[in-house]
């Protein structure tokens, strides 16, 4: 496994991009101006507010501002900008308390505009800020994907290593089961397993259940790949040599065989995480995953299943786009890792 310099640089570049993106989501409390469950019954389905630098008279302002929104006369869900009242945006403002990275209690937010709520991406039917919900929803979806992927990889590593190292009937049975899991359409499998779990559970339970479920269904592919690597690593001369010196099975696995699976595990992680994030999104979109009011990228999009939302409130679609940069990062990382591991592959 030779890694060229150029490829190494590519891998690191994409890793940095991904770490940055994840940090933004991890610090959602700071970047989001409001609590994701804060409702504003005065302004349901408010469209995204435009951030201005120039006011109506053509004057440039020192800091960006938004116009407050007012219900159009005679309407209950159409808003118009109130050009007379410009609300200057302020930065590092104090607001609702949150816990940074889940531990540090803070109440400073990146931006805000006084008493009036700024809806950068609009608001939903309860007047909740979609921008904040998008950031906090990412925490759920990404964490579910990461947990599911690590679960699948650990199980896959264990089973693949066992099958490859011991061979014989262990290998035969484990790989038959893996084929079974591989052959099933995973979404249907996920559904089938989900079908027999309780339907209404608390958000935390649902989250853990989704992560476990996806991980439990997805171990087969990494297991097969790792088995292949272990099989070939087992044949290297230094392994029988070490065994000749009296090394135990456990020592051989830990010292000589598992280190060679590292690059496969990394590549698989880069491929699996976006898949599993999407699995969570799909389940939550269909109402089988994390329930309201906890936001997740999936249930944020769920309201689009209603025709009226689809026709009138297009901005409900915007939070979904948050997935795209993450998937781009993971795809690019995976392909950089793949080319560095195998010379050239699609």
């Amino acid at each position: 496994m030779k890694i060229t310099n150029q490829n190494r640089r590519k891998v690191y570049a994409w890793l940095i991009v991904l770490v940055g993106l994840h940090l933004v989501i991890a610090c959602a409390g700071f970047f989001a101006p409001y609590d994701p469950t804060l409702q504003n019954r005065e302004r349901p389905y408010a469209p995204p507010m435009r951030v201005h630098w120039f006011d109506a008279t053509g004057h440039i302002h020192a800091r960006p501002f938004v116009y407050s929104q007012q219900l159009r006369a005679g309407s209950f869900d159409e808003y118009e900008e109130d050009k007379s009242s410009a609300l200057p945006m302020s930065f590092f403002v104090s607001g609702s308390p949150y816990k940074l990275l889940g531990v540090i209690p803070l109440h400073t937010h990146l931006f805000g505009a006084g008493e009036t709520q700024v809806f950068l991406l609009g608001s939903d039917g309860y007047g909740r800020d979609l921008f904040s919900r998008m950031l906090f929803g990412g925490q759920i979806s990404l964490l579910a994907g990461l947990m599911a992927a690590s679960l699948a990889l650990c199980t896959g590593l264990l089973i693949g290593a066992l099958a490859g190292f011991f061979g014989g009937w262990t290998d035969e049975i484990l790989m038959r089961v893996a084929e079974l899991f591989l052959a099933l359409p995973w979404l249907y499998l996920l559904f089938a397993v989900r079908a027999f779990l309780p339907l209404s559970v608390s958000p935390l339970q649902a989250f853990l259940m989704v992560a476990l479920l996806i991980g439990a269904v997805g171990w087969a592919r990494p297991a097969r790949l790792i088995r292949g690597v272990v099989l070939s690593a087992k044949e290297r001369d230094y392994v029988p040599a070490a065994r000749g010196f009296g090394a135990s099975d456990f020592y051989l696995l830990r010292r000589h065989i598992l280190p060679s699976t590292w690059s496969v595990i990394l590549t698989q992680a880069a491929l699996l995480i976006p898949q599993y994030v999407l699995a969570e999104v799909t389940l939550s979109f269909l109402g089988l995953g994390v329930p309201e009011p906890t936001p997740s990228w999936g249930n944020l999009l769920a309201s689009l299943q209603q025709y009226s939302v689809l026709t009138s409130y297009w901005w409900m679609y915007l939070p979904g786009l948050a997935m795209v940069p993450f998937f781009l990062g993971y795809l690019a990382l995976a392909s950089a890792l793949q080319t560095s591991a195998e010379g050239s592959k699609i």
């Binding site: 099933l184 249907y188 779990l197």
Partner: protein
């Protein structure tokens, strides 16, 4: 022949495994359809008990499995509690709708992917290749959920396409050609989304397969003999690169029932996906198992068809 028999045995074993797996999951399930019925004050406890007895809910798992297996051999996939009807006809009617959608999109995707992939492999590193590669990369990172919702949004705002469903309200009154045209109009959006979401993987595989044979000596010899470019690519390079593509085609066939679930649900296409989703929410046991089994049958069949095609196309496989 032995090769084919072995592959067939493999497929049957797989189906057997899937059925056992689904029954095991039902055993792990807390609660069932009748538990929720019990909560309904309009249904007397006696009725629930009678229904439980009728559907063997309280019998041990092995017995139920045996009975189900016996029924499946006779073409009966069990009974849907929620619809109060045999599951097989229900599933079939929906499966046909799914097939209308997926056969169209799979054909379209392959018809586009083959020339695009070949073109891209031929101009490797050139402008067309870069354009095609970036386009497939973009399509690859947009999940089909977003794609489907995006197209739906577009259709709603422009009104160019009917949104959702498979037929208009006055469908029954239409003439024969009118019916075909109506279904085609409803097909347009879901087929587009499905095609776009399967296309990138296909194009990339075709490109990889073709470029792996393009440098071969016999192709350069043929080129030196003045064989025209098109003949060279489609008559000589494509068959030589066919093996991985045939496997991929088998996979496409296998995914005919299962690949469109998300798009069906979003676009409310009355296919297998929405039915299965309903069945899950209603805990309609046999309908879920039947749906999963049906998709597994397609998968096994797709793999087997790929094996048959490979057997026919590649003499190396015929000689053990």
């Amino acid at each position: 022949m032995r090769y084919l028999l072995k592959r067939l045995g493999h497929g049957l074993l797989l189906l057997f495994g899937v059925s056992i797996l689904s029954f095991l999951f039902t055993a792990l399930a807390p609660g069932n359809y009748f538990d929720e019925m019990k909560l309904n004050p309009q249904i007397s406890p006696d009725t629930v008990t009678a229904l439980r007895a009728r559907y063997d809910v309280d019998r041990p798992l092995v017995l139920r499995y045996g009975k189900w297996l016996d029924a499946v051999v006779h073409g009966d996939l069990g009974f849907s509690f929620a619809y109060d009807a045999p599951a097989a006809p229900l599933l079939w009617a929906r499966a046909v709708n799914t097939l209308i959608l997926t056969v169209a999109s799979t054909l379209l995707a392959w018809l586009i992917a083959l020339p695009l992939g070949i073109w891209s492999a031929e101009r490797r590193g050139g402008a067309p290749d870069i354009a095609i590669s970036s386009a497939t990369a973009i399509l690859l990172i947009i999940p089909d959920l977003l794609l489907a919702l995006g197209f739906l949004l577009l259709a709603v705002r422009t009104g160019w396409f009917p949104t959702g469903g498979m037929a208009s309200v006055g469908f029954a009154a239409l003439s024969w050609t009118g019916k075909v045209r109506d279904i085609a109009a409803h097909l347009a959006l879901p087929v587009t989304v499905l095609t776009l979401s399967t296309l990138p993987v296909l194009v990339r595989h075709v490109r990889a397969a073709i470029s792996s044979v393009l440098g071969a000596g016999y192709l350069r010899a043929a080129q030196a003999h003045g064989v025209p470019r098109r003949t060279l690519l489609y008559r000589y390079a494509l068959p030589a690169a066919a093996n991985p593509l045939i496997s991929l085609f088998g996979f496409s066939i296998g995914a005919l029932l299962s690949g469109s679930l998300m798009v069906e649900v979003v676009m409310s296409w009355p296919g297998l996906g929405p039915l299965l989703l309903e069945a899950i929410q209603a805990r309609d046991l046999y309908l879920v198992i039947g749906g999963v089994m049906l998709t597994a049958v397609f998968l096994a069949a797709g793999n087997f068809i790929a094996d048959l095609l490979l057997y026919w196309a590649d003499p190396r496989i015929r000689q053990p």
